[in-house]
Symmetry: C2
Subunit: 248 residues, 2 copies
DNA sequence: GGATGTGTTGCACTGTGCGCAACACGCGTG
DNA sequence: CACGCGTGTTGCGCACAGTGCAACACATCC
């Protein structure tokens, strides 16, 4: 729709990764140096980026202000957050809250234990549908037409040896998750990470989100995580109830 | 430099205020409905905005993720935050950390007490130089050339009866603040709010930031705030020391 | 039935954002 | 010191992106 805006946002994403030099930005955007510079200046003007003393550019302070405002507008996150914090405290694992947003499954919240072993997920980023348990827990309970909509055109890219790479196998996995009551990621994205996830329902009873517990396999393998399943289910129930859901 | 990007960011700011309908956005931007819609869709695509069930648009989840990344890049904020939290706990007031960024004084951090009496400041937004004590505390210690740079073209707009509206009077106020060791905002922006602020120094001894305590006059008048001055000074010293400053 | 607001699309015009080139500047290095 | 390298700035001309507009389908509400 809008090329320059798209580029600008691309720059923001770039700076979110790590501070960059102007020429660096120009190269990644595959554009002229002056163009990148003009873009950066616009962003700096708005407070979305800032120039570091060493000449590189990073995200600006305005970002934080925006996020604070954003959080106030996110009922789901606001409701879920305290529950995630508790779950993280109980399990010692990184926990995620995921939801469907604009045709993607995105992480809505993420709480890491204090001794955080760096999980690479990022709030607001689309979740890989066919590997993340948080995605599976939602997809498993979606009506088939909405599921098809999300899955159409989805590439079952292999990320590790255990990645599910065909739609048929994936649908079978979803069915298993539905029956089981929780979804699994058995090192399907990063082979050294596994997670389990359960669905969250809203007032109408529809599954709209999921909660997941993630851990390094070396610290907590799948069986170990399963031991926390009751806590996980309790958290999901709590959030669902806060969303207005009443057990049937 | 870039009109469409500027517009896009304007939309983001708009949504940060409160969720808006498309036609609403179009009107504010003074642009055609379809243009606004196209813009919104680009933002939604990127996760920076989202469509609410009722058709309005608000900020997107990606905002939060970006802010988390941003915070990791902000040494000053990262360093100052815990001290602000403590100061807020001690005083029961809203506290701010302000710094110079891109030719403006901006709030870098803000901590509100749990029973938050809604102060309207926003992180990343430029601070009104001639009213906010947080700005004065910094300006009072700036070399005159840098001060002139910031002040040139600044309009001393009257916001309340006590607003200082001339450059001369303002410079006198700064001198007083410098001598006194702390700066004051005596209801100069909103007449029912007053604050005091003290400077923060970096490793080179330059004043680069300030900490302020803000309160409703009805709850804490200036004299009452002054009682917390030792705590405020201690906080500023702590942050300065964390920044590498050593007392002379 | 009409009124209102959203979302979409095709088209034509215009202006804006782009690439480019040239220059000033600061910094470190051989 | 001259040189290379990267940043920052500016003027220019062109192409095309982005805009405005109009017309449509579609919901919802009264």
């Amino acid at each position: 729709m809008s090329q320059s805006v798209r580029r600008a946002l691309e720059v923001v994403e770039l700076l979110a990764g790590t501070p960059r030099s102007p020429s660096d930005v120009a190269e990644v955007l595959d554009t002229h140096r002056s163009t990148a510079l003009r873009l950066l200046q616009t962003l700096v003007d708005a407070g979305y980026a800032r120039r570091l003393p060493d000449g590189r550019y990073s995200l600006g302070y305005r970002m934080i202000g925006l996020a604070q405002r954003a959080q106030e507008q996110f009922d789901l996150r606001a409701i879920g957050h305290p529950h995630l914090v508790e779950l993280t405290a109980q399990t010692g694992c990184t926990t995620h809250l995921a939801a469907i947003d604009n045709g993607h499954v995105v992480y809505v919240d993420k709480v890491e234990p204090t001794d955080s072993p760096r999980i690479l997920s990022q709030i607001g980023r689309p979740v890989p549908l066919h590997t993340a348990s948080a995605a599976k827990a939602i997809l498993a309970h979606l009506p088939s037409d909405r599921l098809d909509l999300l899955l159409d055109g989805w590439a079952f890219t292999r990320h590790s040896v255990s990645t599910i790479t065909t739609r048929e196998a994936f649908l079978a996995d979803l069915a298993a998750a539905r029956e089981r009551g929780y979804a699994i990621d058995d090192g399907e994205y990063e082979d050294y990470i596994n997670c389990i996830a359960v669905p969250v329902r809203d007032a109408t009873g529809d599954v709209v989100a999921s909660v997941s517990v993630t851990a390094l396999r070396a610290l907590r393998d799948l069986d170990s995580l399963r031991a926390d399943l009751p806590r996980l289910l309790q958290t999901a129930t709590d959030i669902s109830r806060d969303l207005g859901w009443v057990a049937t």
